[in-house]
């Protein structure tokens, strides 16, 4: 099992969700994040002071999947999130040692979906 963590542009979330549903990945957890990367920030000007803000709003998606779903899920995220511009984001894949469904106590592969 793998845990996929993707950092994307916030406004791409609807597209990504759609792409995932089409790839029938229906479960995910989304968090709000600030990202710093190649993408350059914006100039903030407030009361006569100007500074560059380089922590930009990003959306972070976590999806736990079984191996067979790994590729399709990554494809789907790319499909939904890619604009070709700097700042599109990253996808990180981690090995998932175990997974438990709280409601039923099921473990491992069945618990994922």
């Amino acid at each position: 099992m793998k845990l996929i963590i993707a950092m994307i542009q916030p406004h791409k979330l609807p597209d990504v969700k759609k792409a995932l549903f089409d790839a029938d990945v229906h479960k995910m957890t989304v968090t709000n994040a600030l990202g710093c990367g190649q993408q350059k920030g914006f100039m903030e000007t407030y009361r006569g002071v100007i500074t560059e803000v380089n922590l930009l709003k990003k959306t972070r998606i976590e999806i736990a999947v079984n191996e067979d779903f790994l590729e399709p899920t990554i494809e789907a995220i790319i499909k939904g999130a890619r604009s070709g511009n700097i700042g599109d984001g990253k996808i990180f894949v981690l090995d998932l040692a175990d997974c438990v469904r709280i409601r039923t106590g099921e473990k491992g592969r069945e618990a994922i979906g």
Partner: protein
């Protein structure tokens, strides 16, 4: 301070009297001057109308997304400043100066200008300027979340310096409509239908916000970011309306008239809120506060024209219809894919029209109207005049504002870039956030 006053009331005021030369014959010692009291009334109500600016700001801000709040507030703030200036330099002269039936020509910069009522010119001007500001700011809401800031500045100067005053002249400045006996007591047409239809023209030119409508034509919810802000705004507007309508008497008289106007204003607003709430509850299964609040505003807009000419029961009916209209309006606009984020068109345009017409239905000659309304056996006379009046104003605005927006679009562009819209106009146009430090999802 008071010692200053002493010698002002000694020397100063007498001089003032001399200078200003008001007709007010001095009342006997101990008794208050009628002109003084009327001025007090007009100023107090003018202050309330000014405060509506805050109400508009909060409502508009509350109903849009957090990422565009600073932008709309800047527009709302600046347009009042612009209106004050524009109405001082040009507006007043065009509206209340001597001229022909179409516009006035005298009193630029108020120099040599005459007051339009018994109160001193400066008080009368302030009251009128606050109205002008209200008309200008209505548009901000309808065009919210995508209109360029510089474009808005120019627009707001033009409407308050030229377009609003001209229409005002027709109806309140002794122009052709007022001569015909067209009755718009406090501005359902002059302020609201005018502002509302300008918003309609503008929002149609701008096109909907990205993501508002789907390919299949269905609409998406783009939820307002702060219901408390919007609710506060509505209360402030309602509060301010007690200046807007009763103040339009421009005189306290024996109290009868201002009392009537005040009660009608309140009843219509309350009924508008109730009916709108009931309608939306019935139609969509939930009591939606945003609609109930729009309903109250609709009731206020509708009663603005007839408030002095009708009885309380009539104002309840007028408000009830307004409350229903506003809900229908919102639904229909979405069907037509006209994206009006805060409901400026249903509230101000639709109910501005309804209110103006209602004068011809529920109005009473006994209360100072040219002809009795439909229900009082006056037939269609007054109603026809009302229809003609509001109709011609709509035409004029569609035409003039159409040109204004088109020109701005050509020379500056009306709409921000897609990137900026996604990031939010606060960062794009103003380089700042409205809620620094807060974690806010900008996924929409």
């Amino acid at each position: 301070m008071f010692r200053r006053i002493r010698n002002i009331l000694g020397g100063g005021v007498l001089v003032l009297l001399g200078l200003a030369g008001t007709a007010a014959c001095e009342p006997q010692a101990g008794a208050a001057s009628q002109t003084g009291v009327d001025t007090l009334w007009v100023l107090m109500t003018a202050f309330l109308v000014f405060f509506m600016q805050a109400g508009f700001g909060m409502v508009e801000a509350g109903f849009i997304r957090a990422k565009n709040v600073c932008n709309i507030l800047t527009k709302n703030f600046l347009d009042f400043c612009m209106a004050s200036l524009g109405f001082f330099i040009f507006g007043y002269a065009l509206m209340f100066g001597d001229g022909n039936g179409f516009m006035g020509f005298t009193g630029w910069f108020l120099s040599g200008a005459k007051s339009g009522s018994g109160v001193p010119l400066y008080a009368f001007w302030l009251f009128q300027a606050a109205f002008c500001g209200a008309a200008a700011t209505i548009v901000a809401g309808g065009m919210a979340e995508r209109m360029k800031f510089p474009a808005y500045l120019i627009y707001s100067f033009l409407i308050s310096a030229f377009i609003y005053p001209i229409v005002g002249h027709w109806i309140w400045g002794g122009g052709w409509l007022s001569k015909m006996g067209f009755a718009d007591f406090a501005g359902s047409t002059v302020v609201h239908a005018l502002g509302g239809v300008a918003a309609l023209v503008g929002t149609m030119m701008l096109k909907p916000r990205t993501g508002k409508y789907n390919a299949d034509g269905s609409a998406n919810v783009i939820a307002g970011h702060s219901i408390p802000l919007a609710s506060l705004g509505v209360f402030i507007l309602w509060f301010g309306w007690f200046g807007f309508n009763p103040g339009s008497t421009l005189s306290v008289g024996n109290g009868e008239l201002i009392a009537r106007v005040a009660i009608n204003t309140n009843l219509s607003a309350a009924m508008g809120g109730i009916v709108a709430m009931a309608t939306v509850w019935k139609m969509f299964g939930k009591p939606d506060l945003s609609m109930a609040m729009n309903g109250a505003l609709a009731g206020l807009v509708a009663i603005t024209a007839p408030c002095a000419f009708v009885d309380p029961w009539a104002s309840i009916v007028i408000g009830a219809i307004a409350g229903g209209l506003v809900v229908m309006g919102v639904v229909v606009l979405d069907k037509l894919k006209i994206d009006d984020p805060v409901g400026a068109v249903p509230v101000h345009c639709l109910n501005g029209i309804w209110g103006t017409l209602s004068v011809g239905i529920f109005g009473k000659a006994a209360l100072g109207l040219a002809h009795d309304g439909l229900l009082y056996g006056g037939g269609f006379k007054q109603l026809a005049i009302q229809a003609l009046g509001v109709g011609s104003v709509l035409l004029f605005i569609v035409f003039s504002m159409g040109i204004v927006f088109k020109l701005i679009d050509i020379f500056l562009g009306l709409r921000v870039s897609r990137e900026e819209e996604l990031k939010g106009l606060d960062i794009g146009e103003h380089g700042m956030e409205s809620y620094a430090g807060f974690q806010i999802f900008t996924t929409q």
